[in-house]
Structures are given as structure tokens and as C-alpha cells.
């Protein structure tokens, strides 16, 4: 069901009392919110006018102009970095990561509040090489006005959708091997921390 900006404000207001006690706010997620940047821009502006905090959960794959329009009224970006090598990024995501990297550099230079999300998918992007490259990339961003790098959340792949695929008669193609081992996650987190990056495993803490 399509929403207009008034709907967004109404939904936000319904949880106002919980935001007061939790410092919470509204997160735009997807799909890719930046694919509808005009709407997200007007919705975040209206939310700011009403005193709500805003966040945008993005792959970063959008024209810089879209990113900047949305950034004006976004308090926090949740920003994905899936693979640092452009060749492999093209292979597994289907597009180049050049735009994604340019956008995050711009956000860093503006001093925007960002948490980097690194999905962790064994067999795809979990090599030490890629994780080291990712940590180095994050450490080199040097966001304006901050002494430390952006924090990182490592998001372990999970198969919560498996039962839903099966109910729909669809084949769930990810093997059990896609589910990360805890010790590998801890190892990767430790690797990020050697770059002075505040690192957590999981997205909900």
C-alpha cells in the first residue's frame, strides 16, 4: 500500500511515546530507499519538522545527487559495504562499487553520522583478504570532525527466510554452509578492531 508523507508522520506519531524513552526514531529501509530519494527527502524533512530522528538503511548504490538530497535530513546512515574489490563486487552484486565508494567518501567528508554494515556470507565475501581490505577502507575514510573511524556492524547471514521459501514452493538456494561459524565472526571482529574500529556482531544491539 503506497504511503504519503502524512501517513509517515501519523505512523511516527503513534510511537512517539516510545521514542521519548528510547531515543528511537524512523528508519527508511528497503528495497533501496535512495531509489525513491524524492519521497525520502520530503518524508525526512517533514519528520525533522515534527522533531523525529531519522535513519536511512542503504546499499549506497544511487546517484550522488540523490544521496545528498536525502542526507540533508538524515541523522544516521546504515551503509553497506559488501565487497571492496570492484571485480568481485560486479560478479556477486551485478554492479560496480565505484558509486558506492564515492558516496561514502562524500558522507565522510560532510561528517555525516554513519554505521557501516558488513554482511558476512561464507563462500562469498568472508575471506580475510576482503575483510582486511574492508577494514582498511573504513579506517581510511577519516570522517570529518571525528577522531575515530565509523563503527562497523558485522551482519552474519541467516536463513530465517527458508521456511517462507518452502511454503511458497520456491527453492532456497543458500546451503547450510552459508551460516557463519561463531569463531569466524569473532576472528573477523577482532581483525576490524585492530584498525581501531568499534565493531559489533549483529545488527540489533
Amino acid at each position: 500500500m503506497p504511503l504519503d508523507v502524512d501517513d509517515v508522520i501519523r505512523i511516527a506519531e503513534s510511537d512517539d511515546m516510545f521514542f521519548d524513552s528510547s531515543d528511537g526514531g524512523i528508519t527508511f529501509t528497503g528495497g533501496e530507499p535512495l531509489a525513491q530519494s524524492a519521497f525520502v527527502e520530503s518524508a525526512t524533512r517533514a519528520l525533522h519538522e515534527h522533531g523525529f530522528r531519522t535513519a536511512v538503511d542503504t546499499s549506497g548504490y544511487a546517484p550522488m545527487e540523490s544521496m545528498l538530497r536525502v542526507a540533508a535530513h538524515t541523522d544516521l546512515f546504515l551503509y553497506d559495504l559488501k565487497y571492496i574489490s570492484d571485480d568481485i563486487h560486479r560478479e556477486i552484486c551485478g554492479v560496480s562499487n565505484t558509486t558506492i565508494h564515492a558516496n561514502i567518501h562524500t558522507l565522510a567528508s560532510l561528517g555525516a553520522d554513519v554505521i557501516i554494515s558488513v554482511p558476512y556470507i561464507p563462500g562469498y565475501n568472508d575471506s580475510d583478504d576482503n575483510m582486511t581490505a574492508t577494514a582498511g577502507f573504513v579506517a581510511a575514510l577519516k570522517p570529518a570532525g571525528r577522531s575515530r573511524p565509523y563503527p562497523v556492524r558485522i551482519l552474519p547471514y541467516h536463513d530465517a527466510a527458508r521456511a517462507k521459501y518452502e511454503r511458497r514452493g520456491q527453492v532456497y538456494r543458500c546451503a547450510d554452509a552459508c551460516i557463519p561459524q561463531t569463531d569466524r565472526l569473532e576472528h573477523t571482529a577482532a581483525l576490524f578492531r585492530t584498525y581501531d574500529i568499534d565493531t559489533t556482531i549483529g545488527g540489533l544491539s
Partner: protein, 793 residues
């Protein structure tokens, strides 16, 4: 945990509840020997005296807080003067799969030869059922309501701080003064003299009971070789000679004084919700602080004593219930509920170091009882709320959380003094009351969905074909939603009228035959008025009926409004006759209609204005009918009737008595619990549920109940307790009364169902109390599994 506590805990955990006939024998002998002319309060005091003087007492190894309800841990007495178990009842007790009790052959023989021959026909239960009119029995047997007082004494006895300031000798002086002040012109003078004399006897009896423990500790000390234990036994003896005769001076004396009063109350009678200390942390804080300052106590020692007290409460399982009551409240839990935090009588934050000690004890011991709850006021510090949330997320179902500001407001609205209201709180499951000053008596559960079933069948119960309610019209004559609602309300009024009438009769039966002189010592103003707790002696008196199935009724009405009478888009998706057809087929073969009911109808618990307005209307109607529409409905004690919204486990029992309902629920399955949305109806997350409940004016009730279940992942990490605390504050700002959390995942519960032996210690929140998951029957287990698991806060 010290090794002594570990031993006591494991003993308490392992011991199987057992029935003892000792109390029954002593009480029976007193009744048999007393002349028929003995005034009831004196007879009750003599029975209490005989128990205090003669019952076997027990002091266990490692114990410093002493006294047992029967002759040892987990042994429970019986109360044949209220309910006289039959031989068959006792045999069922020891063989039933759930909440069974050991009953040895000698106990059964004692019952056969001595107890049953005297009490059969004399017990309150026998007398009550023999006198019940057919109309009441039809409602009762159809599962329209239950009756609390048919086998247990009325309950909700929670205490204020009196016993820590005043010993029984000082109370006896008050009794003497009250007796001297009786006016010759007082028409009830003789009855008051009897009551006051009974209270005086009760004081002496409790002092005797404590002194026997002192003597026992002294003789144990004389035989003991371990010098540390000798010192402990000497201190026990000194403590038991001091309290409850005199006011306590130390932390240990204060805990022991409370425990003796608790034991006295649950020996005298077996009131619902046994007994609760009220604001235990506030009561103990001055003793704790003074003892620490004077170097008499360390924090560790205080925690050890608190653990010993905790274990004593766990050692007193509920006396065994029978019949419908066993089904509506099938648990060993006797519902002692301890209030933490909250407000002081002068409106300040009531939390202290003792609050934190109790939370640690709760978390470490993980016992079935006592329950504890945090009273959250706007001035309650976040660190206290987060400490309690950190315990709650461990998945035992406690502490539960109450809104202290709303609990105060609800009492002030009901006419209580502000100081008294703040010293009140929550007892039993979720019931608001004024501790130490109120008799707030629960009378039984009321089945809202069953009344709708009667309304759709002109007062005939379709499950049995018998007439249960009044004729309120055949459905063919209903032309609007208002017609159906009016029929439901008429069925409700009829059932409540009958319930109240019989409650009044039972009140009178208790008041005249089974007063409670010992309990009356601790409830203001029974002594000053010379009136028993059961005769209106308390400063405040309230009578409650607990309404069950708010979510089920609301969703059912929403289906009627939307799908049958076309309130949404003006078109009707099904006729009333089609809906009734689907109900009588238990929805089989009516998949489309069921899908409309479940998926195309606004349901309660989704922050949906339409559904929530219906919920408010149902909620308000329950309250208005119970409180009285034209004039206030008063009980025999002259107390106002009020509504409560808890279900304990009764929504499961009521479910078995209720056919398929318009909300798509199948015949026999559980009704919604408390004021929670129907199982599976809420699909918009916990804040939407809380927003929906926020639309109900909860301060009009004696309590509402909201169950929420979270998987452990949702509350993990350092921020978990903070998020839970923020959720609680957000709900309470909207006037929410109570919320409790089950933090477990469905897979764990399924595994526990399959291999109960591996999950003995899995505590879950049932409805207002915690229970071991494996002790629940399969229906309850399935119901807990099906409650919406919220994946993230």
C-alpha cells in the same frame, strides 16, 4: 550463592509437594470438642491456638529464617472446614499427571475414618453447592463464570509496614483498649467482644508458635557440635523469643517477624494468593541500613538471609485444589508476590540497595515462588528499571512490571487516601490493592466470549442444548450490530446479577462461620472497629469480578461489525446465518469466511483505531455492568463491585467450555488472556499492542494484564535491558498497568515439550504468574508457544 543456600535451594527444588493431614486432624478435634454455642471467632481462635501449640514444627539444617507451614519443606496442610477432599480426590491428587501431590495411605485412611465423617456436609464447599439455585448452577456448569470462594478463603492479603513497628504485645494493648471503649449502646457489642477476644487469643497463639521454635533451636544448639551452627541456632532462638511478640530490631528479626506473620495467616486459612509482604524492600531498608552502619550485617549476609526467606516461600506450595478451581488455577504457585521499588507513602522513590539485593536473589535462585514485580514510577531511576529488565530477560517471567503512578491513581480514584494508596501496590497476579488496609476480594472469572455465544443462541448453550442465559432474541431478529451488542450486554448483566447474588451468600457464609482473627490483627482498622477482615473490618473493602476474553470478544464483534453488518465499506461479506453455520461447523468447510475473519477484519492489538474503539466499548461495558449502571452495585459487606482483567489459566478452561467464535477461533481452544490481544491477532509489533491497550482507561479497573514474549536474541547485549526499559516506560506513559515478558524461543519450548526431563527448570510466564513449562498441560504449552514471538524490540 553460599554452599548452605545451594543445599537449601536444591532441597526445595527436589522435594515433591506432599499432603499432610495433621492440620485437618487438629482443627477437626477442636470443632468436635467445642460446644455448638461457641461463637465463630472464638472457635476459629481456638483452632488457631491448637495449631500453634501442637502442630509439628521444623527447623532444617542450614536455615536461619525458620518455620514451616506443615512439618517440613513442600508439605502442605489441608483445610477441610473449607473443602473436604474425598478419598477419590486424594487418589486423583497423587496420580494425576500435572501438579500432583504425594498422599500416603495413612493420610487417606485418616481422611476416611476421621476427617470426612465430620466435615462431609459441613464444609463450606458442601454447604455452598447444596444451596445453589438451578439458574446459578446452569451458568457455572456452562463455564460462564467460576467461583473463588467455593473452596478457598477470599484472599489478597498483602501487608503494610505495621509489623515492623509494632509487636503482638502492643497490638494486644490496642485490642484491650478497643474492648474497653465499646459502648453499652452498641447493638453489635457482644459480637465485637467475641471478635476482640479471638484476636487476643490469636496474638498469644502466634507468640507461642515462635517460642516453640526458640526452644527447638536451643535444644538443637545443645546437641550441635559445629560452633558456627551453634551460634546460628542461638541467634535463631533469640530472634524467635523477640518476634513477633515485640517489634524487630535487626534485618534478621524483621525477616523472621514477617515470616511468622505469613505462616500464621496461611495456617489460619488458605486465602487466595496466600499472603504477600507488600513493599518488602521499603520495609527492610531501614533495618538493612542501620545494621550495615552498626557493623552487625554485611551485604553478603543480608543476601543470604533474603535467599533463605525466598526458599521458605518456595517451600509452601499451594494447598491442593479440586474440580473447576484446579482447572482454572492448576499450579503449585500460591501467588505470593513481592513489590519492589515504587513510591514511598510520601511520594518519593522507594528503591534502595535492598531492591537490588532482592533482584540478585531472584535471578540466582530461579524458584517458582515467590513472584516479584517492579513498581515503576516516573521517579524510579533508570538503573533500577534496567537492573530489573536484565533479570526479566533471562526468561523466568519475573520480575513483572507495574505502573506505580497508575496503581496510585486507580486507588485514589476509588476513594483511598493518597498515603494509603502509595503504600498499596499489586498482589496476587496483577491486582491493585491497598496493603495492610484493604480487603479486596476476588470472586471469580467471567467468560466474555461464552456470553457472546449465548447472545447468538438466544440464551441456549449450543454445546449442551440447555438454557443458560435469558432469551435475548433469535439471531433472525437481529437487524443491526447494535442488536447483537445489546443481546451480549443483556447476557452479561444476567450472569453478573447471579454471580453477585451468590457471592453475597458466600461472603455471609464465610463471615459467620470462618472469620480470621489472626489476619485481622494486621489489617487496619479491624482491631479499632472490633470487626473481622471478612466482615468489613478493613478500612477499605472492594469486591472484584475478573473479566476474561477481551481480545476474543473484541475481534468477534469486529467480524460481526465488518463482515456481517458491513460497517467497513457498507457491504456484507456474510450473513449472520452463514456466520452461525460456520460456528456450528467449527469453521470446517468455511475457509473463505474464516480467511475474511482473520485477514480482512481489524483486530485488537494492532494500533487500529476501529478495532481499539470496539475493545474500549467491550471493556467499558464489562466495567459498567459490574459496577452497576444506575446505582453502585454493593456487596454484602457494603463494598463496591469493580472489574478486573486477569485470567490466570482460566482462559484455557473457559476455552474448553466455549464453541467456535466469530473471530475464527476454533471450539475448545484458549480465549485471549488478560487484556492481551488474541493469540496471533497482533501482527504490528509490541508498540502497536501497547498503543492499543493504551486506549483502554485502565485506571478504572483493579488491574489489566499484558503478556509479551521475546526471543532471547531480541534482548541480548548491553543495550537489551535499556531497550526493554524504554518499551516499559513508553507503555506506562500511556496509562498501561502491567506488562510481563516471556523471553524464550519457540524451538526451546518445542524441545521442552518433547523432552520435559531435560527442561525441568524452564520457567515461563503463564498469565500473571510464572510456572515450570513442563508442569503445564499440553494445552497451556501450546498456547504459550503460539503467543506471538516478537523478533526484535
Amino acid at each position: 550463592m553460599t554452599s548452605g543456600i545451594a543445599r537449601l535451594r536444591s532441597q526445595s527444588f527436589e522435594a515433591k509437594p506432599r499432603v499432610s493431614a495433621e492440620r485437618a486432624l487438629i482443627v477437626t478435634e477442636v470443632y468436635q470438642k467445642s460446644p455448638a454455642s461457641t461463637p465463630a471467632p472464638i472457635l476459629r481462635a481456638m483452632a488457631f491456638q491448637a495449631l500453634c501449640e501442637r502442630k509439628t514444627i521444623y527447623i532444617g539444617d542450614d536455615e536461619c529464617i525458620v518455620g514451616a507451614r506443615a512439618s517440613g519443606p513442600k508439605i502442605t496442610p489441608t483445610y477441610p472446614e473449607l473443602t473436604c477432599h474425598s478419598v477419590e480426590d486424594l487418589q486423583i491428587l497423587r496420580s494425576r499427571p500435572m501438579t500432583s501431590y504425594d498422599v500416603d495411605d495413612a493420610t487417606i485412611e485418616t481422611y476416611r475414618t476421621t476427617i470426612i465423617p465430620y466435615w462431609r456436609g459441613r464444609s463450606i464447599r458442601d454447604r455452598a453447592f447444596a444451596a445453589m439455585p438451578a439458574a446459578w448452577l446452569a451458568l457455572y456448569e456452562a463455564g460462564v463464570f467460576t467461583e473463588f470462594m467455593e473452596q478457598r478463603a477470599a484472599g489478597h492479603t498483602a501487608l503494610d509496614g505495621k509489623l515492623y513497628r509494632k509487636g503482638l504485645r502492643a497490638i494486644q494493648a490496642d485490642i484491650a483498649l478497643a474492648r474497653k471503649s465499646l459502648q453499652a449502646s452498641d447493638a453489635r457489642r457482644e459480637a465485637k467482644e467475641h471478635e476482640l477476644d479471638a484476636m487476643r487469643i490469636a496474638c498469644d497463639s502466634a507468640i507461642t508458635f515462635a517460642r516453640r521454635h526458640a526452644e527447638m533451636a536451643e535444644s538443637m544448639a545443645a546437641r550441635e557440635s559445629n560452633p558456627d551452627r551453634v551460634r546460628e541456632l542461638q541467634l535463631i532462638a533469640e530472634t524467635c523469643r523477640r518476634v513477633p511478640a515485640e517489634a524487630p530490631r535487626t534485618f534478621q528479626e524483621a525477616l523472621q517477624a514477617y515470616w511468622f506473620v505469613h505462616l500464621g495467616t496461611i495456617t489460619e486459612l488458605n486465602g487466595w494468593d496466600s499472603m504477600s509482604p507488600g513493599h518488602l524492600d521499603q520495609h527492610l531498608a531501614p533495618f538493612y541500613e542501620r545494621d550495615i552502619r552498626d557493623g552487625r550485617l554485611t551485604r553478603d549476609k543480608a543476601k543470604e538471609l533474603m535467599s533463605m526467606f525466598w526458599i521458605q516461600v518456595n517451600n509452601t506450595p499451594a494447598p491442593p485444589k479440586v474440580g473447576v478451581t484446579a482447572a482454572e488455577s492448576g499450579t503449585y504457585n500460591d501467588f505470593t508476590n513481592i513489590n519492589l521499588g515504587g513510591l514511598t507513602p510520601d511520594g518519593r522513590d522507594g528503591s534502595s540497595e535492598v531492591t537490588l539485593i532482592i533482584l540478585e536473589v531472584l535471578d540466582e535462585l530461579r524458584l517458582l515462588q515467590p513472584q516479584a514485580n517492579l513498581q515503576v514510577a516516573s521517579c524510579t531511576p533508570d538503573r533500577i528499571l534496567e537492573a530489573a529488565s536484565a533479570v526479566a530477560r533471562n526468561g523466568m517471567g519475573y520480575p513483572s512490571f507495574f505502573n506505580a503512578d497508575e496503581v496510585t491513581l486507580a486507588q485514589v480514584v476509588a476513594g483511598k487516601r493518597l498515603k494509603d494508596a502509595r503504600e498499596g501496590g499489586t498482589s496476587g497476579c496483577i491486582e491493585t490493592g491497598c496493603f495492610g488496609k484493604e480487603a479486596y476480594i476476588l470472586h471469580g472469572y467471567l467468560n466474555g466470549p461464552k456470553l457472546l455465544e449465548l447472545a447468538l443462541n438466544d440464551g441456549i448453550d449450543p454445546l449442551t442444548g440447555t438454557r443458560v442465559g435469558p432469551s435475548t432474541g433469535l439471531v433472525g431478529t437481529f437487524t443491526s450490530f447494535e442488536d447483537v451488542f445489546a443481546a451480549w450486554k443483556a447476557q452479561l448483566s444476567y450472569a453478573v446479577d447471579w454471580k453477585v447474588k451468590i457471592d453475597g451468600y458466600l461472603d455471609e457464609l464465610y463471615g459467620t462461620t470462618t472469620p480470621a482473627p489472626f489476619l485481622s490483627l494486621y489489617i487496619d482498622d479491624c482491631v479499632a472497629r472490633g470487626l473481622d477482615y471478612y466482615r468489613g473490618g478493613a478500612r477499605y473493602n472492594t469486591d472484584y469480578i475478573q473479566c476474561v476474553g477481551l481480545g476474543t470478544v473484541t475481534d468477534s464483534f469486529s467480524v460481526l461489525a465488518t463482515q456481517v453488518f458491513g460497517s467497513g465499506n457498507g457491504t456484507s461479506a456474510m450473513s449472520l446465518a452463514e456466520l452461525r453455520g460456520a460456528l456450528s461447523d467449527n469453521w470446517r468447510g468455511h475457509d473463505l469466511l474464516k480467511a475474511l475473519a482473520r485477514n480482512r477484519t481489524p483486530l485488537f492489538g494492532n494500533d487500529d483505531v476501529t478495532a481499539d474503539a470496539l475493545a474500549k466499548r467491550v471493556f467499558d461495558t464489562f466495567i459498567t455492568v459490574i459496577e452497576g449502571e444506575d446505582a453502585p452495585r454493593l456487596s454484602g459487606r457494603g463494598a463496591p463491585y469493580r472489574a478486573n482483567f486477569l485470567s490466570t489459566t482460566c482462559h484455557v478452561y473457559f476455552g474448553t467450555k466455549t464453541g467456535a467464535t466469530p473471530d475464527g477461533r476454533l471450539a475448545g481452544s484458549p480465549l485471549s488472556d488478560g487484556t492481551s490481544p488474541s493469540q496471533g491477532s497482533d501482527t504490528h509489533g509490541p508498540t502497536a499492542v501497547m498503543n492499543s491497550l493504551g486506549r483502554l482507561d485502565q485506571a478504572r479497573t483493579g488491574g489489566t494484564l499484558l503478556n509479551q514474549r521475546f526471543t532471547p536474541a531480541a534482548l541480548a547485549g548491553d543495550s537489551g535491558p535499556r531497550k526493554l526499559g524504554a518499551l516499559i516506560r513508553g507503555y506506562f506513559k500511556q496509562g498501561g498497568h502491567h506488562v510481563q515478558f516471556n523471553v524464550v524461543d519457540a524451538a526451546t519450548l518445542e524441545a521442552a515439550k518433547k523432552k520435559p526431563e531435560d527442561y525441568r527448570n524452564l520457567l515461563v510466564r503463564v498469565a500473571g504468574y510464572s510456572d515450570y513449562f513442563v508442569d503445564l498441560d499440553e494445552k497451556h504449552q501450546n498456547e504459550i508457544i503460539s503467543r506471538t514471538a516478537n523478533e526484535a524490540v
